[in-house]
């Protein structure tokens, strides 16, 4: 299926068509967030900025990808209602197209860590390539979540509001601004380790920053991804023919 990718690119191009920087506005606005929030909290925590900025940048970029996938994914059918009611295409095309769009955004944001590496040159090892595997697991998890949330949020329109409130709460409960172990409260750490997003961030962030996540982190993340994928596929298979009647 190549067409979702073409459609995703077209969507991205159209969105930034009348701007000078085009899709690189994505990178620029992310850069603004990374440097402003990074500098403030890095200084506040008294961390070494050469370590804190890359840590925060990778974390926030992965988080933004996951957050957007879930929030936009939960509305994908509602927003494609016109298409769905007039053009008989497989429903999953709309999900693929959205995923494609988010991957394109992620790709633009991925330039930032490269720039940061050129500045700070932290040691990277062969293990850094595990980040690709980590990202693959992350994408599988998000794809499953999108399939699942798109359906339940079409049926129950309140859910999207609940989910967006929950996601901003989860952002604070996931070690992205703060480092695991840095908050001197066992409660906070316990929450972080019960938080699925934490694992999905770690498998990308740790390899990129030159360390290797523990095996249990990999296994937990993989389990989350498989669970999410199965739930998404099961819901999709069960309800895809009903969705058009819910729009």
């Amino acid at each position: 299926m190549r067409r979702w990718w073409t459609l995703a690119w077209a969507d991205t191009r159209f969105r930034y068509r009348r701007t000078t920087f085009g899709p690189f506005w994505i990178t620029l606005s992310m850069a603004a967030t990374v440097f402003s929030v990074g500098l403030v909290f890095g200084t506040l925590f008294g961390s070494d900025l050469s370590r804190y900025l890359p840590y925060f940048a990778v974390g926030i970029i992965v988080w933004t990808f996951m957050n957007q996938c879930i929030l936009e994914g939960s509305l994908v059918y509602v927003q494609s209602a016109g298409h769905i009611k007039s053009t008989p295409v497989p429903l999953a095309l709309h999900v693929y197209r959205l995923l494609g769009r988010q991957l394109i955004l992620l790709g633009h944001n991925a330039l930032l860590p490269v720039v940061l590496w050129l500045i700070f040159q932290w040691p990277v090892a062969a293990g850094s390539f595990l980040a690709v595997l980590g990202l693959a697991i992350n994408i599988v998890a998000l794809f499953g979540a999108m399939l699942a949330f798109s359906i339940v949020c079409t049926r129950y329109r309140d859910l999207h509001q609940i989910i967006s409130a929950l996601m901003s709460l989860l952002f604070l409960l996931t070690p992205i601004i703060w480092l695991p172990g840095s908050v001197r409260s066992p409660g906070i750490d316990a929450v972080a380790y019960a938080n699925p997003f934490h694992y999905l961030v770690e498998i990308v962030r740790q390899p990129l920053l030159g360390s290797t996540p523990d095996l249990h982190v990999w296994l937990t993340a993989t389990a989350i991804a498989l669970l999410s994928l199965f739930a998404g596929i099961a819901l999709h298979a069960r309800f895809r023919h009903r969705i058009v009647y819910w729009l």
Binding site: R3, F14, R18, H83, S86, P88, Y156, H241, V244
Partner: protein, 260 residues
């Protein structure tokens, strides 16, 4: 007499006791609160709580057999189920009961102007629409010139469609939709496009497309149109087929119902 397509064709469309039920969720029923509360109270009280879900039976027990050469007019007053039936025939709605079997490429020619990006140029609309319709890219490229020529939009095709007038927009989408060859054509009323001269040109193109197709199903209220186009009529009433047969039978049945 309307033209009939070659009879030696595999094209078929069969509905077997098809029903379509529309759940209409009131805001209260669609909300999670309502469902959660219903679960919480449960038991006796729960069963007395109104679910708030009205079901509209849009189609009921519809059985049809469409064969090559059929030029079918769907007749019935508003809300009789014509559009729903067209959507079932085009594969947009899956029947909630019964079954649909079909062979042949179907082209729904309704809601032509849906789902395009205002920032896309005319040419990009051609490509993206083609992609949505599942046409492969090489074919789109080849058709693109033909669509451009037919639409007569010229240099406008390089501009974003937000600069188009509504007439131009319709011309573009008509030209795209009618560039697709199909075995089964599904229409909700005739599509009239553009100014006086263009309308004639568009009518010819649409007629030629219909003549090449094996099956036509069109919902219409216009008797002259139906008479010139169709050889079979289906009268829908309250989501059921009230009458299926030659046009004159259908017209008199419809007339009798209206005067009754």
């Amino acid at each position: 007499m309307p033209a009939t397509a070659p009879v030696l064709s595999m094209t078929r469309l069969t509905l077997d006791k098809v029903g379509v039920d529309f759940p209409i969720y009131q805001t209260s029923a669609r909300s999670l609160k309502r469902t959660a509360l219903r679960t919480l109270v449960g038991g006796v009280i729960g069963s007395s709580v109104d679910t708030g879900c009205t079901v509209i039976r849009a189609l009921h027990d519809v059985s049809l057999d469409l064969r090559p050469g059929d030029r079918v007019a769907l007749i019935g007053h508003n809300g009789a189920g014509k559009t729903t039936l067209l959507r079932v025939l085009s594969g947009i709605y899956q029947p909630t009961s019964g079954a649909i079997h079909g062979a042949g490429k179907r082209a729904p020619l309704f809601d032509l102007q849906v789902g395009f990006d205002e920032e896309a140029t005319g040419y990009e609309c051609i490509q993206l629409r083609g992609l949505m319709l599942g046409i492969d890219r090489a074919l789109i490229e080849r058709k693109s010139a033909e669509i451009a020529a037919f639409s007569e939009l010229g240099d406008y095709l390089d501009l974003p469609v937000r600069t188009y007038s509504s007439g131009m927009l319709l011309r573009l989408f008509f030209s795209i939709a009618t560039s697709v060859e199909a075995d089964i054509i599904l229409m909700d009323e005739w599509i009239g496009v553009g100014d006086e001269r263009f309308v004639e040109k568009a009518n010819k193109r649409l007629q030629a497309l219909i003549d090449r197709a094996h099956i036509l199903v069109i919902a219409s209220h216009s008797r002259p149109l139906i008479s010139s186009l169709c050889n079979r009529g289906i009268l829908l009433d309250g989501g059921r087929i009230a009458c299926d047969g030659p046009l004159d039978t259908i017209f008199s049945a419809y007339g009798a119902r209206q005067s009754a």
